[in-house]
Amino acid sequence: MTDKAALATAPVPGAAVGSDPWWIFPARLVGRRDEVEGVITLEMELLDPDVRARYRFLPGQFNMLYVHGVGECPISIASPSAHPERLSHTIRMVGQVTDALARQPVGSLIGLRGPFGSFWPVESARGRNLILVAGGIGLPPLRPVIEAAMARRRDFDRVVLVYGAKTVSDLLYTEAYETWREAGIETLITVDRADDRWRGERGLVPTVLKKLRLRGEGHVVFTCGPDAMMKFVVHECLASQIPESQVFVSLERNMVCAIGFCGHCQFGPDFICKDGPVLSYARVKRFFWQHGF
């Protein structure tokens, strides 16, 4: 199935879960895992069995998670899109809502709207090298792509993940790296600072990417991480003659509504909530380097 066909059969967010895109659906927390300092993963199931059965998403999309009496925030979906009945979200505690989410015990009810936004165009990498480049909390939005690539590994030539964090203790999903490698995902892990016991890469993500010497049209790159990291990654891709229409970034902006009404997430002509979060560099290049947008 092409991505476009997948989108056509995927629910229009809101329509999937009711006629009002503001409508919040109760979800039960069924799992909770401490990942690294300040980061947790919450697993949840939509409470209503019919809603749960109809819910679908594509890798790269996000949900608005709601804590009663506190508010909502956008969080990307970190679990495989093949299993939309159980959703996981990896959350860094950086504000009121994320802090409140982290305080919810397993079994409690939170609210959910979604899925929203664009998706990683996995299909566009068929027959090519799929290069995933993540930094810090930018890995969770790419995890559904890793899962999809493992499930259909032969659709791609090389599949490479370059993932970096500040220190070894900041690395997410360390327990999964061997599984990914065994499934044919070249998994390169780098840290900025490490002691002598560290066997992986050292240095910044774009530097590790550069060492791979990827060249030309045979590559499709998906990147998510801090703005500064993505700028260097894009720069590296362009220097390697990877076409700008084959480089995709996932951008983050303030979001209130997720449906293009509130105006907060505008980035030049694009609404990050409905046109993004995943956008090709070709589309965003006018504003990508610009400060203050």
Binding site: V12, P13, G14, S19, D20, P21, W22, W23, I24, P26, L47, Y66, H68, G69, V70, G71, E72, R92, V94, G95, L109, I110, G111, E252, R253, N254, V256, C257, I259, G260, F261, C262, G263, H264, Q266, G268, P269, F271, K274, K285, R286, W289, Q290, H291, G292, F293
Partner: protein
Amino acid sequence: MIETLELPKARFGDLIRRLKDRGYTVIGPTLGDGAIIYDEIGGVEDLPRGWIDEQDAGRYHLARSDRDYFFDFVVGPHSWKRYLFPPRLTLLRVTRTESDLRCEQPALQTAPGPMAFLGVRACELAAIDIQDAVFIGGPFVEQHYKLRRDQAFLVAVNCLRPGGTCFCVSMKTGPRAEKGFDLALTEFDDVFMVEVGTPAGRAMLDGFDLAAASTARRDEAETLLAAAARRMGRQLDTSDLPQLLLDRLEHPRWKEVAERCLSCTNCTMVCPTCFCSDVEEVDDLRLESSERVRVWDSCFSQAFSYVHGGTKRPNIHDRYRQWLTHKLATWHQQFGTSGCVGCGRCITWCPPGIDITEEVAAIRGTPVGETTL
């Protein structure tokens, strides 16, 4: 051809009564807070008859006119978005129980019912059209807006006396109401010329038995409107404007205007097309029921672009540039039109009197080198 009739001014009150008899709450211009605002109208006596407004950058003043026309002023600080997209509205009430989170939509149950807008200017018809594109023209439909919009009855008024900050001619939205109204009025000494825009407009005049407007009347209206078009208080050269602005994101004028801009958000509050909002979580003290309350927001606030750790537009020049480039450039890419209708409110209600037409002229006038990439 549009049906054009004549309504004697003595019967203008009958039209307002008819609107009320048909179940409409009539909203129109009235004196309030030292300005002409939009509020519920009981009858012709509530209209600011014989008043004119004098407007300039950062200045609004009401004065008596030398004639007793009903609509000799232009637009004030209010716009119809106040009624279609209320400044504060409860989107959801969420109640928590042991086993559920239950949502209700109290604002849909307590919606105001059909509203008739009396005295909608051509620029405001254009503004409503633009907000239609934002709230009901995309993949998602804003139900609260749609409910109000579908039920609204629009009585337009052609502007014969443009204001000091008006530039609708530049934005090609006025001064003549061309479409989007149910009825459109052009005011003369003793009669209103009435143009019928829709079957609903025709039905509203059932039994009025109005005479058709004479050719001379229609010609006179055209003459008056052509004269009004020549007396715009401001002008804005829109030729190739979106590209021009996007090519000049590093123009020194952005920083220069930021030294005058207070980032007070007035321009966005009075703008009839600005649609940004925030949602507040307002809970009861027992934490059982919580309301999701939508409130108008502005790209001029620092919190507007806040993402964990910092704001994306920390400087006033970032925010002024965001507002202006959105309004006049990227809006075209988003919704197919400019986001500006030339109503002049942002000029009039800016405390230091920053003038969008003057800023654009300055940016157009002095090109600088390529922006950074």
